[in-house]
Amino acid sequence: MKKKNVISFALFIITLAVLPHLVSGYWQRVLTQTFLFASIAVGSNIIIGYTGYPAFGNIAFFGVGAYVTGVLTTKYNMAFVATLPFCALSGIVLAILLGIPILRLKGHYFAIATVGVMETIKELIDNMTELTGGGLGLTLPIMQGEPEHIYRFFYYAMLLCMLFALLLSYVISKVKLGYALRAIRVDEDAASVMGINTPLYKTFAWALSASAVGIAGGIYAYWLSYIDPHTVFVGTYSVKMFAMILLGGAGTVMGPLLGAFTLELISELIWSKFIAIHGMVLGLLIIFIILFIPKGMFETFKGGFSFRKLLTNLRENSL
């Protein structure tokens, strides 16, 4: 990491740490939501960006994490913070169990299998009424204290979760695992010939990715204080996550983070202006990103903004 980058990143974090004392409750909520998506995007980038496995249903771990916190706090009276390690663990265990069969699939087939897994888990949770409340949902204990204090608590909790995901992603990019994963993305057979145990590394990458996403789910559940299968297993979140990763640049450490900030803030601004057509604009925005900036903003606009680069990008993948 260059010195300049370290300084700007430190400034960015200090700003975020100070912000809740300066901005209104509304913006605190918006930023908390942004951190949530950034955690999911940065965490999922480990399997999607580094390894090149399009885990379209990675939100499954988010939902499971949310339910782990939900069930542990309501049925076993555990403290919220104590449940978070279990959220990470649930992601890791699930990813390992699923990874052994599913990570043998490639491309489309892998993407679809993860969607199938997500829908199956969603329906199983929907049917485990005694434990999870099923379709009626689960009401979590509400945090005690001043509303102001609670807002800040979740703001910092989500910020820490995002930093955890970033740290994980950064460390992986620097160690042997990261190099192995990139080799797998470029050419899995060649990587295998080079002596990389590809199934092991892929499963490991997915497990780590799932742990970050699982923790985000746990915090989200406590923040929302009510969850049902449809609020935590959301297909739209998968797409938003993918759009964020692409917008920022897949396979980079900071890309998904910046993508998440850009997309979530744009989305929030649009949301507050045109509620009725929010979904339509989101759809168009995603189409626009794929057409014109599939390599990410930073790769595309390295030497400054220009429309010609957008057109070059458009031509590159056309028939």
């Binding site: 999607i48 399009p54 379209f56 069969p101 599913i102 043998r104 699939l105 490639k106 491309g107 489309h108 087939y109 993407a111 679809i112 299998a113 969607v115 199938g116 897994v117 829908e119 199956t120 329906e123 199983l124 929907d126 049917n127 297909g235 739209t236 797409v239 993918f242 759009a243 692409l246 009725a276 057509i277 929010h278 979904g279 339509m280 989101l282 759809g283 168009l284 925005l285 995603i286 189409i287 794929i290 057409l291 599939p294 458009l314 590159e316 993948n317 056309s318 028939l319």
Partner: protein, 292 residues
């Protein structure tokens, strides 16, 4: 006797799934695009039928050609002026692009056609064929026959006509097909148009068998998905068998285990088929090999 009734219900439902699956599987097999907006396009056809019935009292069966032509044109333009720009990108880009389109279309329909559940009920809706203790509604029987006829017609089109053969040739080897004078951009557009047209027809048939709203788009796409996986990509007979299998499986699992596990079982089966035989039960190797 109840088992026979369930089996018949399953087959009747399955033919409809097969029709959704045929278009989806054709597009996937030939252009390598998983069209996540397939269900939304089917619903556009359904709304077209609904509004034609409401305003002009046009019989839903007569609006089949209308929705086919409308969605065929829509699909052609979509592929020619949107999808063709990204077909060579990594696969998950295409997934997200079509999902973006799905979000757009579903929200468009919710905004302009409302989120209410709609249905089309022609005067003959209640009539059934009664054979002993088995009851078969005439409408479902007609839907079944239309689905099978369209499947056969599609298979003949792909095997016997020049455009059909060109579609198959392009899916097998795009470079070689270009050398023999085929323009892949047009063939891709034609394939997507056919897929969308068939989606439109299945939307029309959907109005006759169940109530619909924009929210069911995802469910339809996922059904199409499972059918394609079960049957193998790009193969009409595969989609037909996959559809019938899914229909029978759904009705039987609803009866034996309960309605609420229907999706989990269907998805579980899909994942199992993916792991054991990724090319599908009927798939051949060269159709839609894993392209990166």
């Amino acid at each position: 006797m109840i088992i026979l009734q369930i089996l018949i219900n399953g087959l009747l439902l399955g033919a409809f799934y097969a029709l959704i699956g045929i278009g989806f599987s054709l597009v996937w097999g030939v252009t390598n695009i998983i069209n996540l907006s397939h269900g939304a396009i089917a619903l556009l056809g359904a709304y077209l039928t609904f509004f034609l019935f409401q305003t002009f009292r046009l019989d839903p069966f007569l609006s089949i050609p209308v929705s086919f032509i409308a969605m065929f044109s829509f699909g052609y333009l979509l592929q020619r002026y949107l999808m063709n720009f990204v077909v060579k990108a990594q696969i998950f880009m295409l997934l997200i692009l079509t999902f973006g389109l799905e979000i757009f279309l579903v929200n468009f329909m919710t905004t302009f056609f409302s989120a209410d559940f709609r249905s089309v009920t022609p005067s003959y809706a209640g009539n059934s064929l009664v054979l002993g203790s088995i009851v078969i509604p005439y409408i479902r029987l007609a839907v079944f026959s239309i689905c099978v006829i369209i499947a056969v017609a599609m298979a003949l089109f792909l095997d016997k006509t020049w455009p059909g053969k060109a579609i198959k040739a392009t899916s097998l080897d795009i470079e070689a097909s270009m050398m023999s004078g085929i323009n892949p951009a047009k063939i891709y557009a034609l394939t997507f148009a056919l897929g969308s047209g068939l989606a439109g027809v299945s939307g029309t048939l959907l109005t006759l068998t169940q109530a619909f709203s924009p929210s069911i788009a995802g469910g339809l796409t996922l059904r199409a998905f499972i059918v394609s996986i079960l049957g193998g990509l790009g193969r009409i007979e595969g989609a037909l068998i996959g559809g019938l299998l899914l229909g029978v499986l759904e009705t039987f699992s609803s009866y034996l285990i309960g309605e609420s596990y229907k999706n989990a079982i269907a998805f579980g089966l899909m994942v199992l088929v993916l792991i054991v035989k990724p090319s599908g039960l009927m798939g051949r190797k060269y159709y839609a090999e894993v392209k990166h």
